[in-house]
Symmetry: C2
Subunit: 333 residues, 2 copies
């Protein structure tokens, strides 16, 4: 920077003013500075800049795992929104790499990160999140902490769940089973309520429908499917309502092995609409969440908070049922 100043015959402060547009500079000098900058190929040292500004133009994205396409899509949305503001996105997958919980708080407190976007997974300790929000700006995606008003971006889980369950009941299914998500997660709770609402609306008693708790992963879908489907055809549920697509995929995988036809023997629905959902055989009936947009919204919210705005969670975003081939009329039996 000194070199630039020398070459342009001005003071370093003038260079800074030009570069940041933070002070009055005469047109001819501004011109000279800009020339010197490009002649020397000068780029400001961001470390020094960060030190003065007390911010690093970098946010963290905490994500249970990236191989889950739902999280990957949110991540892409986050990156997109951040890059528009020249903000970098650091990702950490604490469950995969075993970073402790203090890790994030440390990053925040030691000024390596300006803020955090948090995607909750099965192993998230929600309680520690409250701590985090006291350390720095944190936005929650697709999750909420009942009782605490943390800034968050969520979708209409309950409505989506209700609609997809209505689709099932409207097909005449009477023997149902619900493969729910981790009980401590808000999304799991919301979806469950939605399912039960729809079941009640169809004139059935929700309490007679078994609810099994899964962990949102494929393996748990496979396992729970075996628990609930391994019985005589007469008692077997004709429809399985899964709280997310991964578990539904696990169910499909089990059905293939167990030689149960989908949807002739059993209908299956998921939630999320992963890009692969439509490519499965049969195509998975599910609820689309606009993951990318949620990532964008969360990032805008977070960057606003970093800039000093009051946290203002946007209203839940819309979801859309996607009817495909994994659901069909209840077997006559």
């Amino acid at each position: 920077m000194k070199d630039v100043a020398t070459r342009a015959g001005v003071a370093v402060s003038t260079v800074s003013y030009v570069l940041n547009d933070s002070g009055p500079v005469a047109p001819d000098r501004r011109q000279r500075v800009l020339e010197a900058v490009s002649a020397l190929g000068y780029l400001p040292n961001e470390s020094a800049r960060n030190l003065k500004r007390r911010s690093v133009a970098t946010i963290g994205l905490v994500v249970p795992d990236l191989v889950n396409q739902y999280f990957a899509m949110i991540a892409e949305g986050v990156e997109q929104a951040a890059s528009e503001k020249d903000v970098l996105v650091v990702f950490c997958t604490p469950e995969a790499t075993g970073d402790g919980e203090s890790w994030n708080s440390r990053l925040l407190r030691s000024q390596r990160l300006d803020g955090l976007i948090y995607l909750a997974g099965a192993e998230t300790r929600m309680a520690s999140l409250v701590e985090l929000t006291r350390v720095g700006p944190v936005v929650l995606v697709d999750e909420k902490l009942p009782g605490f008003d943390l800034p968050s971006v969520v979708s209409q889980n309950r409505r989506g769940a209700k609609e997809i369950a209505s689709h099932i009941t409207s097909l005449g299914h009477k023997r149902l089973a619900i493969l729910g998500g981790p009980a401590e997660l808000w999304t799991a709770d919301q979806r469950l309520s939605g399912y039960r609402e729809a079941i009640a609306a169809a004139g059935m008693d929700p309490d007679t429908v078994p609810v099994l708790e899964g962990d949102y992963r494929i393996s748990s879908g496979e396992k729970l499917a075996s628990e609930v489907l391994d019985c005589p055809a007469k008692e077997r549920p004709t429809a399985l309502i899964c709280a997310n697509d991964l578990m539904a995929i696990g169910v499909l995988s089990y059905c293939r092995r167990a030689e149960l036809r989908v949807p002739e023997d059993v209908s299956v629905v998921g939630f999320d609409d992963l890009p692969f959902a439509r490519l499965l055989t049969p195509g998975l009936t599910t609820v689309r969440q606009p993951a990318r947009e949620m990532g964008v919204a969360a990032t805008k919210l977070l960057l606003g908070m970093v800039g000093g705005d009051k946290p203002m969670s946007p209203p839940p975003v819309d979801v859309t049922p996607m009817i495909r081939e994994s659901t069909g009329p209840a077997p006559k039996a």
Copy 2:
């Protein structure tokens, strides 16, 4: 830090020595410093530290898109290896967000990133990579630039391709078609050579086998499948060799719509072994690449280079054919 020094009754430099283990400090003073640190909950300001050290303990991961699970797995490996060394990983998806090519070079030159891990995709301009490597440490994953000895981590593409193609020929298939990757990518070239080697080894003339150029995406698999499969059964290829799993998934999706049975009418193989490959119906026969390990290896290589080591690309990693249900004996016809 000044506060810590005051509280411990020592100079700030002593505190620094304790924290970095970079100078001799008497045991009792070290103790006092550590006490003060924890009493005050002090954490060093990383921005200041970065300024002095001229490094940011952060690397960039350039990835065409995260929804591709293969890239996501590599990303997880990168994060894992980086976090072990307290290095952060920033991801940018230039194709998705439209960051220019100069973007990465800027990040490197302005000290926001110490180095870069580059995953090549269909739209990567390989030439600009050579520029990049002159700006700072860059490691290429699953790609090479013929003629330039860039540090890179690759797998045995050719051997894997040869083995999977041998599997096809050994099943008696005579009419084949190859759905290759982008011609300018090294992996695509390698795999193609492998396929042709196997075909020749089976006593057929590789030049009689049609090769269609795809872009490694699902949509191109669907499109090319329609081009090559939409013909009378007698002329139709009985096996499609796809240069990656996504294209193979596209092919399966086309076959479902066209009511072609896999593998009875046509056998399909892919490459990569995405986590979803085994969950498809039928399970996809493919070649497993140890994506996660490749990410780890690339990161270790890069961090070594950042630390001043000579770039030493590791030998190509092993791949394993995964035989599943998407391949079967050639139809008698």
